[in-house]
């Protein structure tokens, strides 16, 4: 069996009376973006700091490529890029000097170091900021510099603690694009957020935690299946909405059809095949359909559905 890129096993961490993380387990594969979701104080930062070798647990273990972060912290560090939830660059250095310093600190030498700095700066879109002071960047550019610093030693696993917090929508979209590119290049990314839309549709899987406990974990499709979450589908017709509704309510797997202007929204419990069949039947029945789409099944749904009733 191939070892997972990141494996968190029965992690436990207390701060005095606060049980920040309890018996938390999940795994993550290469090339995947995993959303790490939970309300403030759920224990995301604590978990990520332990995984990044900056804190130690009271119990459990974390392995990166099979290397325990507790037994071989230095070895593990080389495979991890950790982006903390705060960014404090050094005063008195410009962007390139800042990156150059961390490249030196990562053991890069000579032309290799300069090439890496240039490549990473270009990737993160920092080219035109090279001689700006590192402390004087906008929030968005600061986060890019922070990410650039995290990428210098070419880590396999990126642990990003709320990187999109406080970014404006445009910066957030650009940042997301960078992460997608990194995942496409084979890096595993664990990204946390307490605001679900921030993660959008970029995650392959999610881990939802609350009060230090895992609520759900897995790929988004799996979670839907496991929790028997019905998917919402929206249909728009040019013709009679009532006729469409009458047609839908008698179809298999369909429930809770609601008319909304020219659209009908309904819940569908079947799979994609059955959904396609449904569309074929609708067209065959002569209904003038112009739109037939899944309503964005977002993390928020998952989150709200899975944590419902546990919120106290």
């Amino acid at each position: 069996m191939e070892t997972a890129l990141l494996e968190v096993r029965n992690l436990d961490r207390r701060y005095g009376n606060v049980h920040a993380v309890r018996d938390l387990s999940f795994t993550m594969q290469r090339g995947q973006i995993t959303g790490f979701v939970g309300p403030n104080g759920a224990g995301k930062t604590t978990t990520m700091r332990i995984a990044a070798t900056l804190d130690v647990p009271d119990g459990g273990d974390v392995t990166v490529n099979g290397v325990s972060v507790l037994v071989e912290p230095r070895l593990a560090r080389r495979q991890i890029g950790y982006m903390a939830d705060q960014f404090h660059p050094y005063p008195g250095l410009d962007v390139v000097q800042y990156l150059d310093f961390f490249a030196r600190a990562s053991g890069l030498r000579g032309s290799e170091r300069r090439r890496t700095v240039r490549k990473v700066a270009a990737f993160c879109g920092l080219d035109s900021f090279a001689d700006r002071p590192a402390t004087g960047l906008s929030k968005g550019m600061g986060q890019r510099l922070h990410l650039a610093k995290t990428l210098l030693h070419d880590p396999q696993l990126l642990i990003l603690d709320e990187p999109a917090a406080g970014l404006d929508p445009r910066a957030r979209i650009e940042f997301r694009a960078l992460l997608k590119e990194l995942a496409a290049a084979g890096k595993g990314i664990l990204i946390s957020s307490h605001i679900l839309p921030e993660l959008g549709e970029m995650c392959d899987s999610v881990v939802v935690i609350e009060k230090g406990r895992r609520v759900v974990a897995g790929s988004i499709a799996d979670i839907h299946r496991d929790n028997e979450l019905e998917q919402a589908v929206v249909v728009r017709t040019l013709g009679d909405v009532e006729a469409l509704e009458r047609f839908l309510v008698v179809q298999p797997h369909v429930s809770e059809a609601v008319v909304d202007g020219a659209r009908v929204r309904f819940a569908f419990t079947g799979d994609d095949r059955e959904l396609a069949d449904l569309l074929v039947r609708a067209v065959a029945a002569g209904l003038p359909i112009v739109e037939f789409a899944r309503a964005e099944a977002d993390l928020e749904d998952i989150f709200l559905k899975t944590t419902r009733g546990r919120l106290q």
Binding site: A52, T53, L54, D55, V56, D61, V67, S68, L70, V71, E72, P73, R74, L75, R77, R78, I80, Y82, A84, Q86, H88, Y90, P91, G92, L93, D94, V96, Q97, D100, F101, F102, R104, A105, S106, G107, R109, G110, R113, R114, V117, R118, A121, D127, A130, D131, K149, H153
Partner: protein, 513 residues
Amino acid sequence: MTAVESVPPAGERSADRWSRWSDHLNPILVREVQQAIKGRVFPLTILIALAISVVIAAVVSEEYSFGGTGRNAFRAGFATLIPLVLFVVPMQAYNSMRTELKGGIVEQLLLTRLSPSRVLSGKLQAAMVQFVLYVSILSPLLATSYLLRGVDVVTIGLSLLMALILCVTATALAVSSAAQGVVPALQPIANLGTAFGLGIGTFGMISAVVSGGFEAMLGALVRSGSFSAVVSAVLLLALLSTALSWLAARSFLLHAFENRSSAFRVLLFVLPVLAYGWLLAFVEPRHRDGAFPILTFGLLLVSIVFGVFMVTEQGRMSPRVDAHVPKAGWRALLLAPLLPGRDRGALCLLLFHVLLVAIAVAFWPLASVRRWHPAAVLPRVGAMTMAYVWVYLGLLRWLRARLPENVRGSQAARVLLPAMLFLFCVAPLLVDAIVRGGPDEWHLGHVMNPFWTIAEFAGQDKTELFPTVYAVIGLALLPQLPAFVRGLREVSAASRRNRSRAGPKPTSASDDA
């Protein structure tokens, strides 16, 4: 250097050369220099130093008199150098370390391949660069003072050496107390203490230099026969103090599961080698009879400080240390006293004391019989001290076991020792004061007061003292024996586990960068 990456080819070549050359330097040093060049404090200090040295030169040459003028120039120059190297440089290092700790910058550093040791040595190197810079700014003045026959080369050389030693030790101390900032509660104390300590030191040195006392002291030292002994002792002490600051700072920066204990314990065993080596190499044979007992007793006292830390550590080995215990059982057991954990720490201290006693018994000068000779007094004082050490440390270990198994618990335990000592010394005195209207003489109630008890009994030539002292040491050690066994057992169990796990080769050997 700024635009290493984005300048046209013309500038690229020199940037290249700098870049290649600087590859061999500590990254921290490179960065601190870059920051200093861009910052404001540094150029300002240099300007002020330059201005001062020009003013002094002008004033001195005004009231020209052969010899006297040279001396004044030297004093003025050296008095300018002192605050720079004894206050400005260490404070700068302190501040830069503090900045790193704030906002978790140091965590970013520790995630790179830089080891805590390299971070610290980068700081010290940056301090050295500043030292050289300041000395070179003031060197014209010092050269003038020599040319004017104010002072000889030996004095200038010794003064600079002294300044260098002070600068290094003070900087190491400052960096170490800044690294303490990991514990935020201690920060204001550390800030104040550092600034205050450095300030006092600087002020004292300046007044010594200006009044001429410093030169006089150096002169007397050069003329006396113990020149090499004193200079080597000062160098050794400075080295040790730097090493200790270094180790302390390093242990604050290391990953919580790394081994922070062994280095200190090894240092403890290096101390006698250095001390007795110094005695043989630098102290004249006729002084050795007096120096040997004092050194041995000094080592005993120093071991108490190490001991307090060693017996209040967390009890068990961390997963990391555990996984790195040697597979060979005998090697594991041999190393066990050096491995982390307070049971093994106590065992290590015991071994150290056994070593000291063995050395003392083998080499104690028996010839001298004068009553107050160190060789006559110190056996009793030493034995009693040792008894108190084991009684108090036994109590301390008992208390430590009741505190939580984390760093906080260890720190709390270390504070408990002085508290305990204070309580045991002061409470009987208070009782005396209330019941008898004042403490007049020693009685059994003061038996836990080591200072008074030792003073009371050590002076008297009571040989029957020894059986009691031995009995006390034995009684104090007896309840700790199971802990020693436990400490060794844990190591051999870990060794066995690592042996059985030895199937796939561990990837850790090349781990040390």
